[in-house]
Every structure is written in structure tokens, then in C-alpha cells.
């Protein structure tokens, strides 16, 4: 009896321990050819190259590679980027940062992508006096993450304000979020701001990473008096499953969400049920010729559309900001940090970037709507369509 019991417990332990095993822990690039620095500007990238957020990480990597092809040198020095997989996870990102700083001797860490990654990197960057510069992490917690931590993606403190403005026409809403750094911070911001806007949270559910079956959570939403559903998953695929299963269960509420939903898997899983969902996101105006050129180049190079275009534009801007900074003050993290705080404002393709005393950017997110399998900027017409569809709603759409 004892023996079988110990075998059972042992196997259980092995099974739970192996959770998410990812195939690729090794660096994307081999060890540095030039360990003494010299004429090479070497930066490190940390983002989810495998796992649930991999579609975003791979697009970010492709964007950086594209930039590098067009800007192989800064100030006559060769630029190199070493890519590491942060797996959308603070711990993995922290070890990647240690490796990049200790072995590859980088002065700048590009990333993380997920807020958890950036929060994992931040203390190391701070201690080692290395710049960490994210173009994707939006958690409000990053604001206080340290002097060396910058981001040109707007904080969710701004995003949640825009989202609250979007849903304040309803008196009762349901919120489904995930148990991770990004979602938890966003959820807390909504919990704080919604009562002030006169909106009551009648369902407030957080699911664990790896959850795929949301029918019972959705049943709770259905049983409640919620007039709208807000989705703040921390990864793309759960968002798709929620929307799909909601449609199957006949949950016909207007839906709103965070920027994570903009990954391509969302439409692959959610299909036609995604139509009309509005997300608060750093939005790219695809009618703009510069933006259009970026997308065309991206498609030509990678044979796929970028998944979260706006953030890819921010990555592009980040590289140009860094290029300008390095040209001005050289490749040294402390000098770059001082330069960025003092920078007057950089007009990039993602908008005007200027950093405040916390390393947060001045940009505000916009609203996009899902239409025929992709997110487009919300236009006046869409608002009218939404209003006529939701004819029971007496109030107009105020935004």
C-alpha cells in the first residue's frame, strides 16, 4: 500500500512539475563572436518566442530583424540583437536578462513583451544599470519598476480609463480576467474606477493560465444581470475560447477587451463570434501611408500580417529612438537613460513619444473594433451601427 501510494504521489509530482514545457530554452543566436565589445553594439531581446503569446513575440522579433536589415549600423558600428525566450513569464525573463547582461554584455534589453517579463527583468536591469525598454508591457506596476525601465507602450492606467469611458453607458457589467500580472493589474484598475463611473461589477471572475473551458464561468455571466462583458485575458487564446464558447452558449452581450485580444489566434479560434468586439489598444491608423508601408514590408518579408500592428510600430519607433540616443550619447546605459528622460519628444510612426519621470510614455490608447477577422480603428460609422444594433439602449454611445 505504501509503495503504490508513493508511486502515485511521485507521478503526480512529476506531472504537475512539468506544466508548460517549452521546446526552446536555448538562445536564438550563438554565443557572441566578439566578446570584447569593440565596434559592435549588441542589444538583447526578451519576449515570448514560444508558448501562448508566441505569435506576438515572433512578430516583435520579425520587426526588430526588419529594422536591423535597414539599419545595420549606428554611428559606424555594427548593431546586433541577441534573442532570448522569456516565455511570457517573469522568472524565465529574469534568467534571460542575467544571461544577456553577464555573457553577451548588453547595455540595452529590448523587452519584455509581457508585463510579467518586464517586471521580472526590472530589478536586474536596475541593479546592473542596464536599460530595459519595452514596447508592449502595459501593466501599471511598471511605472514604479525603476529608473532604468522605460516603455513606449501606454500604461494600462490610461487604457483602463479609456475602457471605463467605453462601458459607463451600462449599469451592470461582467468581467473575466486571468490570474497573471498583466490581467490582475488591469482588473484592479477596473475595480477601482468602475464604481466611480456608476458601473457595478456583477460578475468578476479570474481564471488560471491553461484554462480552456469557460462554459461554467460564462453560465455565471448568463445567470447574472450583466449588460456587457469585459474580457481581460493575459494571453490571446483564452480570449478566443471565451468568445467562441459565449457564442455557443447564446451569451449575446456586447463585449469589450484589452489589447491582448489583438493576436491572430483570437480570430482563428473565435471566428465569426468575434465580430463587433471592441478593444482598447494602442491603435495604428492603417490608412496612413507610413503605417501602410510598414505593414506591406512586414508581409513581404514574413509572409504574414503582423498581429498587433500598433505595438510593432512602437517597436520600430523604439529602435529609432535608441538609434538617435546612441548617436547622441554613445552606447552606455546610464547616458542613454539620462538622454531618454531629457528627450524633447520623438515623432515616430506610432505617435509622439515623450517620457515622464517614471519612464512612461505620453501616448494614449484608442479603440478598435473587430471586423471581418481583424481589428480596425473605430470610426463614426461603426458607432452608428453599434447603436442601431443595440436599439434597446436608450443612451447614445459616448466616447
Amino acid at each position: 500500500m505504501k509503495k503504490i501510494f508513493s508511486v502515485l504521489m511521485m507521478s503526480l509530482f512529476v506531472l504537475t512539475a512539468c506544466g508548460e514545457v517549452s521546446p526552446d530554452g536555448r538562445p536564438e543566436t550563438a554565443s557572441p563572436e566578439n566578446p570584447f565589445g569593440g565596434e559592435v553594439i549588441r542589444m538583447g531581446y526578451i519576449g515570448p518566442l514560444t508558448g501562448d503569446a508566441a505569435s506576438l513575440g515572433q512578430d516583435e522579433k520579425a520587426t526588430l530583424e526588419m529594422w536591423l536589415e535597414q539599419n545595420p549600423e549606428i554611428d559606424g558600428k555594427k548593431v546586433e540583437i541577441v534573442y532570448e525566450d522569456g516565455k511570457c513569464n517573469g522568472q524565465e525573463a529574469a534568467s534571460a536578462a542575467q544571461k544577456l547582461i553577464a555573457i553577451n554584455k548588453v547595455q540595452v534589453l529590448l523587452g519584455g513583451l509581457c508585463s510579467g517579463e518586464t517586471l521580472g527583468i526590472a530589478p536586474i536591469a536596475e541593479q546592473e544599470k542596464v536599460l530595459a525598454f519595452s514596447s508592449f508591457s502595459t501593466s501599471p506596476e511598471i511605472t514604479d519598476a525603476g529608473d532604468y525601465v522605460f516603455r513606449n507602450a501606454p500604461s494600462d492606467a490610461n487604457s483602463s480609463t479609456v475602457l471605463v469611458d467605453l462601458v459607463d453607458q451600462y449599469s451592470k457589467i461582467a468581467l473575466i480576467s486571468q490570474n497573471n500580472d498583466y490581467s490582475a493589474a488591469y482588473r484592479k484598475a477596473l475595480q477601482d474606477k468602475l464604481p466611480g463611473a456608476g458601473v457595478e461589477l456583477v460578475v468578476d471572475e479570474a481564471f488560471n493560465s491553461g484554462t480552456t473551458d469557460f462554459k461554467t464561468i460564462l453560465q455565471k455571466v448568463k445567470d447574472s444581470e450583466a449588460e456587457a462583458l469585459v474580457l481581460i485575458p493575459g494571453e490571446v487564446s483564452p480570449g478566443g475560447f471565451i468568445v467562441k464558447q459565449a457564442a455557443e452558449l447564446g451569451v449575446e452581450l456586447p463585449m469589450f477587451g484589452g489589447d491582448v485580444l489583438s493576436g491572430t489566434e483570437f480570430f482563428d479560434i473565435g471566428k465569426d463570434a468575434t465580430e463587433g468586439i471592441k478593444i482598447v489598444i494602442m491603435a495604428a491608423d492603417e490608412s496612413d501611408s507610413v503605417v501602410k508601408k510598414f505593414i506591406d514590408d512586414f508581409v513581404a518579408r514574413n509572409n504574414r500580417e503582423p498581429s498587433a500592428t500598433a505595438f510593432m510600430l512602437l517597436n520600430w519607433d523604439k529602435m529609432n529612438i535608441l538609434k538617435q540616443a546612441i548617436t547622441e550619447v554613445g552606447y552606455d546605459a546610464s547616458a542613454l537613460k539620462d538622454y531618454l528622460y531629457a528627450m524633447e519628444g520623438f515623432e515616430g510612426i506610432g505617435g509622439l513619444s515623450k517620457f515622464d519621470k517614471n519612464g512612461d510614455v505620453s501616448l494614449t490608447p484608442g479603440v478598435m473594433i473587430a471586423k471581418d477577422g481583424s481589428f480596425v480603428l473605430l470610426s463614426e460609422d461603426d458607432e452608428n451601427i453599434v447603436e442601431s444594433e443595440e436599439s434597446e439602449d436608450e443612451e447614445g454611445f459616448d466616447e
Partner: protein, 291 residues
């Protein structure tokens, strides 16, 4: 009632998954942790056939399951059988199966990618049907019908065919069946065929709900494992009920305590069963220690 229905349907997928796991265990007496990832490979083949050659879903499920059978038999013949013959302990074989799980999972991410891929019966999301105030979706219906069908076929196979009876006999007493002249070796191969087939079919059906990705192998084998232990390892009917109980408990857990407690409910259930009735709730046998 709706929660009960959701639980029953998810539970029926767990149950099918668990039965295959349990059957394999009952004949070879070791835990095969690669069991779930072999099913995942079947689902990927199904998806490939549907997308590339527009093979209809039921046929694709069958063909995918055939690939899983090849993987299952391959794992036994090339890895487990040599170890088994060398009298390796069940613990050692289990560790080897864990290694195989990692290899097959990484191989799957290499070939098929890491992202979640959706498997669906149609290009549009189908709204469910309402009856007696409850909602059942097209996918849920497909899962439930397949599960019932598979269970009936399995019961007929185990009760009416010679091979089925031999499988049950080995489950009861392997030494005695050898004495009686039954070729245990052939029967174990049959069990691998059956187990791999059941796991691939249940994973394919469940994939309609949750899609597929390489790491699901771990998820599937955990559910199979818990269902089998709750119901009684080696007992087909017990495992079926174990799967249903697990599905229902998880769904009530989510409804009552909230989404983040789903896994906790499953493991608390497992711990309670292990403490109170380690031989399984529905097992008539008492446990004897394994060699």
C-alpha cells in the same frame, strides 16, 4: 442543471481518456505518462488532414487515431517492452515515459508550432440548442454522442470478444492467464491499440472545445490519471464514473468558488480519494502492492 450537464459532458471526455489509461495500466502495471501526448499527435494529424485535404471530421478523427495507435505501439515495442522484459521497476518505466512525453511534445511544437490551433466542425460558430431551460452546444452534443458510442462499443468488445475477455483476464491476474496459455504479449499489444485509439478519439472530440497545442499532452494525462484513480485503476466502469465525477466536481467548483479554483477542486478530490479509498471509489478489489 446546466452546470451538471457541462460537467457530465466534459466528464465524458475525461472518462474516455481515463479508460484507455486505466486499461493499459491494468495489463502492464506501470503508468504511461506519454499517453496524453500520443493523443495530441492524433489531433494534429486530424487537423492537418482537415486543413490540407479537406477530409471530413469523422474520417479525420479515425485516421488521426490510427497515427496515435502507431505511436502507442511504437512506444511500447521500442521503449517499454525492452524495459519491461528487463524487469525494470514501474517507477523507472514511468520516468522513461515522462522522457518520451517531453520528446514527443517538443517534436510536436517543432512540427506544428506552439500556438493554440482551433479544431471546428464548421467555419462559423454554431449556437447551441436549448431544451428544458438548458443549453447544449453542437460540440458538446458531438462529444456526448461519441463518448456513449465508444463506451458501448468498448463494453461489447471487452465482454463478447475473445481478445476482450483475455484483456480482462490479464487485468485480473497476469500470471494465471499465462498458465492458461493466453499469449499475454499479443494481448498487451491489443491493449495499446485500444488505449491509444480511445485517447486519440476523446482528445479529438475535446479539441472541438479547446483546440490543440503541444502542451495539452500533460493536461490530458493528468485528467486521465485522476479519473482512473478516482474510479479505481484498472476498472473500466469505475474509471468511466471517475471521469464523470471529475468533470462535474470541476464545474461545480468553478461555479461555486470561482474560475481559479478549478484545478484545486480536482486535486482535492484526488487527495480525498487517495486517503479514504486508494483502490478507487468504485473498485471492488482491495489494493495489493505492485511488484
Amino acid at each position: 442543471m446546466q452546470i451538471l450537464l457541462n460537467g457530465l459532458i466534459v466528464g465524458s471526455a475525461y472518462a474516455l481518456m481515463g479508460v484507455g489509461f486505466s486499461l493499459i495500466y491494468s495489463t502492464v502495471r506501470y503508468f504511461n505518462l506519454a499517453y496524453g501526448v500520443i493523443a495530441v499527435w492524433g489531433v494534429y494529424v486530424l487537423l492537418f488532414l482537415m486543413e490540407r485535404f479537406a477530409v471530413p471530421f469523422p474520417i479525420a478523427v479515425f485516421l488521426g487515431a490510427l497515427v496515435s495507435i502507431v505511436f502507442g505501439l511504437g512506444s511500447y515495442v521500442l521503449l517499454f517492452r525492452p524495459m519491461y522484459r528487463r524487469k525494470s521497476s514501474p517507477l523507472v518505466i514511468m520516468v522513461a515515459s515522462f522522457g518520451l512525453l517531453i520528446i514527443l511534445q517538443n517534436f510536436a511544437s517543432l512540427v506544428w508550432g506552439d500556438t493554440t490551433k482551433s479544431v471546428s466542425l464548421s467555419d462559423q460558430i454554431l449556437k447551441g440548442y436549448e431544451f428544458f431551460g438548458m443549453f447544449i452546444t453542437a460540440n458538446q452534443l458531438a462529444i456526448a454522442v461519441t463518448a456513449v458510442l465508444m463506451v458501448v462499443l468498448l463494453e461489447l468488445f471487452l465482454q463478447k470478444t475473445k481478445i476482450g475477455m483475455a484483456i480482462r483476464a490479464i487485468g485480473d491476474n497476469q500470471e494465471l492467464t499465462k498458465v492458461l496459455g493466453i499469449k499475454t504479449e499479443t494481448i498487451i499489444l491489443w491493449v495499446y491499440v485500444l488505449g491509444s485509439f480511445l485517447s486519440a478519439v476523446s482528445a479529438s472530440m475535446y479539441a472541438l472545445e479547446i483546440g490543440v497545442k503541444p502542451t495539452y499532452g500533460v493536461f490530458f494525462v493528468i485528467k486521465a490519471f485522476i479519473a482512473a484513480i478516482i474510479g479505481g485503476l484498472g476498472s473500466v466502469r469505475g474509471t468511466l464514473l471517475g471521469g464523470l465525477i471529475l468533470g462535474i466536481a470541476e464545474n461545480f467548483g468553478v461555479y461555486v468558488f470561482g474560475g481559479q479554483w478549478q484545478d484545486t477542486v480536482a486535486f482535492v478530490l484526488l487527495a480525498v480519494v487517495l486517503l479514504w479509498k486508494p483502490e478507487g471509489v468504485f473498485s471492488k478489489r482491495r489494493l495489493v502492492s505492485i511488484e
